[in-house]
């Protein structure tokens, strides 16, 4: 069973602004799926249509086989949404926000209260549960929206840039929580600007650009398309002669740092053999950029220098 099926989905806003040009997309049940794309590519419109906040111009969206357009109520019962912008009543307490959301999905009040306590505790918000929600920090507000989306225990959890502007410690705790939710059987769709996040968490990915899906595959397969990887080599001693290795482009960034761009067809051993012959000692090595980031920039045609 597919958790999400999108067929020929089009959205045209007023003044003929085309947000989606006929998107086709499938997300399998249990998947951890990344939806990537630059700003204005159509990610939020697509999520808006799936969650019924945006009316599609044409096409069909099914959640676990239930049409969003024809059986909205049943389809919505399967989904939990964490939107990009804060959209809870900031005059209410976190506990009330989560419990009330449970009620809108038919969760009896006592059960909603138990679940609210469980999720707020898991997300480190229990000590703030009875204070005014407007006093929460940005990261706490995002975690509150995750707890709110989980209170009816949806089969499909959609997170629209949940970690934007969140510090690394909180981000990692959110990753852990979402991974646990996915491991327990909830299908997760994630949009993010942190490509490291998608690479670390997700199994499959779709890249959307100018209202079209330009890539829809597994992360592994996508990374396999990366033809050249650039590594940064830190040297023990400053080096004055630039080493030459056939088929590998080497650039000296500063006397103690080299950058080597290596095609997939070439072996790293060859590079190290030449460096050793020339008496250059490498003390550490890392990828210049996140691998998915490199691919993403190529696919959506962003010039690295310009970016």
């Amino acid at each position: 069973m597919n958790a999400l099926e999108v067929r020929d989905l089009k959205k045209v806003y007023r003044k003929d602004v085309v947000a989606l040009k006929g998107v086709n997309l499938t997300v399998e049940e249990g998947d951890f799926f990344a939806l990537l794309g630059p700003n204005g590519a159509g990610k939020s419109t697509l999520i808006g249509i799936v969650s019924s906040l945006v009316n599609a111009t044409s096409g069909e969206t099914k959640v676990f086989g239930i049409s969003v357009q024809k059986e909205r109520s049943r389809a919505m019962a399967q989904i939990g949404l964490v939107p990009q912008e804060v959209n809870f009543n900031q005059f209410e307490k976190p506990i009330d926000i989560v419990v009330n959301q449970g009620g809108y999905y038919g969760v009896p009040r006592r059960l909603a209260r138990e679940r609210a306590e469980r999720y707020l505790k898991k997300l480190g918000l229990w000590d703030k549960a009875f204070g005014p929600s407007r006093q929460l920090s940005g990261g706490m507000k995002r975690r509150l929206m995750i707890a709110r989306a989980m209170v009816h225990e949806p089969k499909l959890l959609i997170l629209d840039e949940p970690t934007a502007g969140v510090d690394i410690e909180i981000r990692r705790s959110m990753w852990k929580f979402i991974s646990e939710i996915n491991a327990a059987g909830t299908t997760v769709i994630l949009t993010t600007h942190y490509l490291e996040e998608a690479e670390n968490l997700c199994r499959n990915v779709a890249i959307i650009d100018h209202g079209d899906i330009i890539e829809n595959t597994s992360i592994k397969h996508l990374l396999g398309k990366l033809q050249v990887e650039t590594f940064v080599l830190d040297l023990r001693e400053p080096n004055e002669t630039l080493p030459e290795v056939d088929g590998i482009e080497i650039v000296q960034r500063d006397p103690s740092t080299l950058e080597a761009s290596i095609p997939k067809s070439r072996s790293l051993n060859r590079l190290f053999r030449v460096l050793e012959e020339q008496g250059v000692e490498v003390i550490s090595m890392r990828n210049k950029a996140n691998r998915l980031e490199e691919l993403f920039m190529r696919l959506v045609g962003i010039d690295e220098e310009a970016a």
């Binding site: 019924s52 906040l53 009316n55 049943r74 399967q78 009543n89 009330n100 009620g103 809108y104 009816h152």
Partner: protein, 261 residues
């Protein structure tokens, strides 16, 4: 297995919206419950006690008693309308209406929840004004069933009107225009302070086109046993407006006007 939606989902959803609305009304009671009571007390003191003594009788009864149903109706109308406009537009403005829009609840449950919240506030304020009125002119009740049904139906009609206003409103000014420029004049000209029979010829005919006149007179019948219009016609007018506004509200909500893009 997909998560299923049943009648109990809807019932729990309705109760949740109502609990949320009642909690809001009670939490901000100095804004929601007290001001109308103070305003109405001033009306009773100035129009009833001071000016009313010079007026004497209206429609065969003491002027102070005569204005009580109209002032209760004025409170019910403004509070029912005002509650739903501020609450629903506030939710729309703060974007937390999305909590409901993405839920499985159908439009009629969302509407019923908000309308019930407005009825709660309107009837609580109406009851408080009735208590104040009792202090000035004693408690009068001619027909409890007519009194309660007219108050309930009127609260529903104006809650639905307020809901439509909130759907179309894009800024806070938009929810103040109709109460100020339409509702208040219609209420004051709807026979709150006078019997419609006192109006000269054409003005009396014009006044009969005002639906609030029927509501005020039907309540006056329920409380005092006197009315300028037929009770049957009053019920017919109220039910007609209620059905029309209810249908429009549901259509707007279903289409997502002002809510979904």
């Amino acid at each position: 297995m997909s998560v299923e939606v049943s009648a109990s989902t809807y019932w729990t959803g309705f109760k949740t919206i109502l609990i949320k609305e009642v909690t809001r009304i009670v939490r901000i009671w100095p804004q929601t419950l007290i001001p109308p009571v103070i305003t109405m007390t001033l009306y009773f003191v100035i129009f009833g006690s001071i000016i009313g003594r010079r007026v004497g009788e209206m429609g065969g009864i003491d002027y102070m008693e005569f204005i009580v149903p109209g002032l209760i109706m004025l409170s019910v109308i403004t509070n029912s309308y005002g509650n739903i406009t501020s609450s629903f537009f506030g939710a729309k403005f703060g974007k937390h209406i999305e909590e409901l829009l993405i839920s499985p609840l159908p439009p009629w449950i969302i509407l019923a929840g908000y309308v019930s919240g407005a009825i709660f506030r309107a009837l609580v304020v109406g009851f408080l004004v009735w208590l104040v009125a009792g202090f000035f002119s004693g408690f009068h009740m001619h027909n409890v069933a007519v009194t309660l049904s007219i108050l309930l139906l009127t609260a529903i009609v104006f809650a639905l009107g307020g809901f439509i206003n909130a759907i179309y409103a894009q800024k806070f000014d938009d929810i103040a225009i109709i109460p100020t420029f339409v509702l208040q004049p219609m209420t004051y000209l709807g026979g709150v302070f006078f019997s419609v029979g006192l109006l000269p010829g054409v003005w009396e005919q014009l006044a009969l086109a005002n639906p609030i006149l029927y509501m005020v007179n039907a309540l006056r019948y329920g409380m005092l046993g006197i009315t300028d219009v037929s009770l049957g016609l009053a019920y017919f007018m109220i039910l007609l407006f209620g059905a029309a506004l209810g249908w429009i509200s549901l259509m707007l909500l279903k289409r997502g006007t002002g809510l979904r893009t």
